[in-house]
C-alpha cells in the first residue's frame, strides 16, 4: 500500500497542471487520425527534458492514457479510428452516432474507458512491486534472454510476416550497436560523424514513429478525408451511468480481456478491442444487435483498450522490457532522466514510480470528465486537413530531435531513420520490433558480455546461457512465440497488412 503515500505528489500545482494538460491534449491528439498514441508520446518527450522525472512521466502517462480514449471520438463521430485500438469502437459507435445517439455513445465510451483504465492501473499497482522483487533473482543470462524475448515476441506477434518481424528486430539490435563499444572503446559501424555517439534513442523514436506518418499523409496528395462530424444531441450522463452498470457482462469481459492482453508483450490495444468485442458478442443474448449500434459493442471495445494501458507497463516497470511500442517510448522518457526500471526504480526512486502510477489513476478520472466536454472540440480538430497535420508533425519532429542534445546529427539520424522506416513499412517490415531492438539492444549486449565473463570463469558459455530452469523457460517462450506466429501465418489467419486489419 506504499502507493497511497505518494498520492499528494500528483496534486502539486505543476504536476496537476501537467496531468490536466496531458489529458486534454492527449484527448485531442488521440481524436486526430494518423496521430497514434506512440507518436504523440514520442513527440512529447522533448517537452519533458526540463521537468523532473516524475513530472515528465506524468505528462507522458497522461498523454498515453487519453490518446487511447480520445481515439474513440473520431471513431464514433467520423467513422475514422483515432488509433488502431479504436477500430472495434467504430463498429457500433458510429452507427449509434448516425442514429442520433452520438452523445450516448461518447458518454458510454469514456465511462467504460475509465472503468477499464482504473482496473488496469490497479493491476499495475498491485502486480508491479511483487514482480519487481521477483526480478531481483534474475542474473545476466536471464536478462539477456528477456531482452531477446521482448524483441522476438513483438517481432512475431506485431508483424504481418514472422520473418520480416524478426528481421526488423535484428535491424534494431544492430542499430543499437552503432557507436563506440563500452568496454573496448572500439568504433563500430560509424560510417558518418553524426553516428559517433551512437544513435540517440529519442531522436530515433521520433523519426521511426512520426516521419512515416508524415510521408503517408503526403502520399495521399491534395485531398480531404471527406468525413463529416456528426452533430451530437444532449444525453443525460446519469442515464449513461445506469446503462453502463446494467451492461456488466460487456464491461467485465472488456476489462478482463484488456487487462490480460495488456500483460502479454507485443499484443496491442487493437487486438484487445477486437477480442473483447468478439467475446462479448459471443456471450451476449442480443448477438444480432452487434454492428447495428449496440451499446455493448462500444462498452466492450473501449473498456478493453484502456484496460490494457496499465498492464502493458508491468513488464517495463519490473523487468525493463517494454511490452508495447508506447511503453518503449516511455522507457526512453525514463532513461533520459537516468532512471532504470526494475527493482531499482521502486527501491531508489519510489517517489517517481508511485507518483507516475498514481497520476495514471487520477488521469483516468480526468480523462472521463474532460473527455465528455472536449469530445466536440476534438472531433473538429480531427477534421484539420492532413496537409496541416503533416507540416506540424514534421516541424515538431525536427525541433524535438534537435532539442535532445542540441545536435544537427540527431536531426539527420531522425530523418534518415524515418524515411527508411516509411519504405520498410511499405515492404512489410514493422517499426515496433525495430524500436524494441534499438532499446533492448544495449541491455542484451551488456548482459551478454557480463554473462560471458561469468561463464568463462565458471561453467562455459553454452552451459551458462542454455541451462537452468529460468533460462530454459525463457528460451521456450521465445520459441513458442515464433512457432505460434508461424502456425498462424501458415493458416492464413493473419492480415496481410495493417491497412487491411484496419479496413
Amino acid at each position: 500500500m506504499e502507493f497511497i503515500y505518494y498520492f499528494g505528489d500528483v496534486f502539486t500545482p505543476l504536476s496537476f497542471m501537467l496531468l490536466l494538460g496531458g489529458t486534454i491534449g492527449g484527448l485531442i491528439l488521440g481524436a486526430t487520425p494518423g496521430l497514434s498514441p506512440t507518436m504523440a508520446v514520442a513527440l512529447l518527450i522533448p517537452f519533458t527534458f526540463q521537468l523532473e522525472a516524475a513530472q515528465g512521466l506524468i505528462l507522458l502517462g497522461a498523454a498515453y492514457t487519453s490518446t487511447v480514449a480520445g481515439g474513440a471520438v473520431s471513431a464514433i463521430l467520423l467513422k475514422i479510428p483515432g488509433a488502431p485500438a479504436n477500430i472495434a469502437t467504430t463498429l457500433d459507435g458510429h452507427t449509434m452516432a448516425k442514429k442520433g445517439e452520438g452523445a450516448r455513445a461518447l458518454q458510454l465510451s469514456f465511462l467504460a474507458s475509465a472503468v477499464g483504465g482504473i482496473f488496469g492501473v490497479l493491476l499495475l499497482i498491485f502486480l508491479t512491486p511483487v514482480l519487481a522483487q521477483w526480478a531481483l533473482a534474475f542474473g545476466p543470462s536471464h536478462l539477456f534472454w528477456l531482452a531477446i524475448l521482448g524483441v522476438t515476441v513483438i517481432g512475431t506477434l506485431d508483424s504481418a510476416s514472422v520473418v520480416k518481424g524478426l528481421l526488423s528486430g535484428c535491424i534494431g539490435l544492430w542499430l543499437a550497436t552503432i557507436g563506440f563499444d563500452d568496454i573496448m572503446g572500439a568504433q563500430r559501424f560509424i560510417f558518418h560523424p553524426a553516428l559517433g555517439g551512437g544513435i540517440n534513442i529519442i531522436a530515433a523514436l521520433i523519426g521511426l514513429f512520426a516521419i512515416p506518418q508524415v510521408l503517408t499523409m503526403f502520399a495521399k496528395g491534395r485531398q480531404t478525408d471527406g468525413a463529416e462530424v456528426i452533430e451530437v444531441q444532449r444525453h443525460s450522463i446519469l442515464a449513461a451511468f445506469r446503462e453502463l452498470f446494467s451492461r456488466t457482462r460487456a464491461l467485465s469481459i472488456g476489462t478482463l480481456t484488456g487487462s490480460i492482453i495488456g500483460l502479454i508483450p507485443g499484443v496491442g490495444g487493437q487486438i484487445a478491442g477486437l477480442v473483447a468485442y468478439d467475446q462479448t458478442k459471443k456471450f451476449s443474448s442480443e448477438k444480432e444487435k452487434f454492428g447495428t449500434g449496440h451499446s455493448e459493442g462500444v462498452i466492450a471495445a473501449e473498456s478493453a483498450n484502456n484496460a490494457m494501458v496499465g498492464p502493458s507497463l508491468v513488464p517495463l516497470l519490473t523487468l525493463s522490457i517494454p511490452g508495447s511500442p508506447t511503453a518503449a517510448v516511455l522507457l526512453g522518457g525514463l532513461l533520459i532522466h537516468g532512471i532504470f526500471p526494475g527493482s531499482d526504480l521502486f527501491d531508489n526512486h519510489p517517489d517517481v514510480a508511485w507518483t507516475f502510477i498514481n497520476s495514471m489513476l487520477i488521469g483516468q478520472v480526468l480523462m472521463c470528465i474532460f473527455g465528455l466536454y472536449v469530445a466536440g472540440l476534438a472531433a473538429r480538430v480531427a477534421q484539420v486537413p492532413q496537409s496541416v497535420m503533416a507540416a506540424i508533425v514534421l516541424a515538431l519532429s525536427v525541433f524535438g530531435a534537435y532539442s535532445v542534445q542540441g545536435s544537427m546529427g540527431d536531426v539527420y539520424v531522425m530523418a534518415c531513420l524515418g524515411i527508411g522506416m516509411f519504405f520498410l513499412e511499405r515492404f512489410g517490415f514493422s517499426a515496433a520490433p525495430l524500436v524494441l531492438g534499438l532499446i533492448l539492444g544495449p541491455i542484451a549486449e551488456a548482459n551478454f558480455i557480463q554473462g560471458g565473463m561469468i561463464a568463462d570463469a565458471t561453467v562455459g558459455k553454452a552451459l551458462y546461457f542454455l541451462t537452468g530452469g529460468l533460462n530454459l523457460l525463457l528460451i521456450a517462450v521465445v520459441l513458442a512465440s515464433i512457432a505460434y506466429s508461424v502456425w498462424m501465418e501458415l493458416r492464413h489467419r493473419r492480415y496481410t497488412t495493417k491497412e487491411e486489419a484496419q479496413a
Binding site: 517537452f47 528481421l167 572500439a186 525536427v398 525541433f399 496481410t496
Partner: protein
C-alpha cells in the same frame, strides 16, 4: 505490390545484412564485435531468406509504393530533405520552418489555389504555428536552435 519492389526492398536489406556481417567478422578487436556477430549472423540468414522468397516471387506481405502515391509524396519528400539537411541549419530553424511549412501547406492544402482567401488562411496558419513553436521551444524550453537569418 509487384515482384520488383519486393526484390528491391529485400535486396537492400540483404545488402545491409551482408555488410554488417562482413564488418562484424573482419573488424578488430574481436571482443568488441562479439555481440554484433551474433546479431549479424541471424540478420543475414533472415535477410537472405526474405530476399530468396522475393526473387522466387513468394513474398506476399507489404503494400509497396504505387506510382500515384510516390508522385504525391515526392514534392513533400524533397522539401523535407532540403529542410532537414540544408535549410534548417543555413537559414536558421525558425526561418526555415516558416518557409517549409508554408510551401508544404501550399502544395498539399486541398483548398483551391485560385482563391485569395485560401492564401490568406495559409499565411495566417503558418504565422500562428511558427509563433507557437517559438514560444514553446525558444521561450518555454530554452532550446537554442541555429540562428542564421532573421531569427
Amino acid at each position: 505490390m509487384n515482384r520488383s519492389q519486393h526484390i528491391f526492398g529485400s535486396g537492400l536489406v540483404f545488402a545491409v545484412g551482408l555488410w554488417v556481417t562482413w564488418v562484424s567478422y573482419t573488424q578488430q578487436p574481436a571482443e568488441a564485435f562479439l555481440f554484433p556477430r551474433l546479431i549479424a549472423s541471424v540478420f543475414v540468414v533472415l535477410a537472405g531468406w526474405t530476399f530468396g522468397k522475393a526473387v522466387m516471387g513468394l513474398s506476399k506481405v507489404g503494400t509497396g509504393v504505387t506510382r500515384k502515391m510516390f508522385l504525391n509524396m515526392l514534392p513533400g519528400l524533397i522539401i523535407t530533405l532540403i529542410y532537414v539537411f540544408w535549410v534548417a541549419k543555413s537559414l536558421g530553424f525558425y526561418t526555415a520552418t516558416t518557409i517549409a511549412f508554408f510551401i508544404l501547406l501550399s502544395i498539399y492544402d486541398p483548398a483551391p489555389h485560385s482563391e485569395a482567401k485560401s492564401w490568406i488562411k495559409r499565411v495566417i496558419i503558418t504565422a500562428v504555428f511558427v509563433a507557437v513553436m517559438y514560444g514553446l521551444f525558444a521561450m518555454l524550453l530554452n532550446v537554442y536552435t541555429p540562428k542564421e537569418i532573421l531569427f
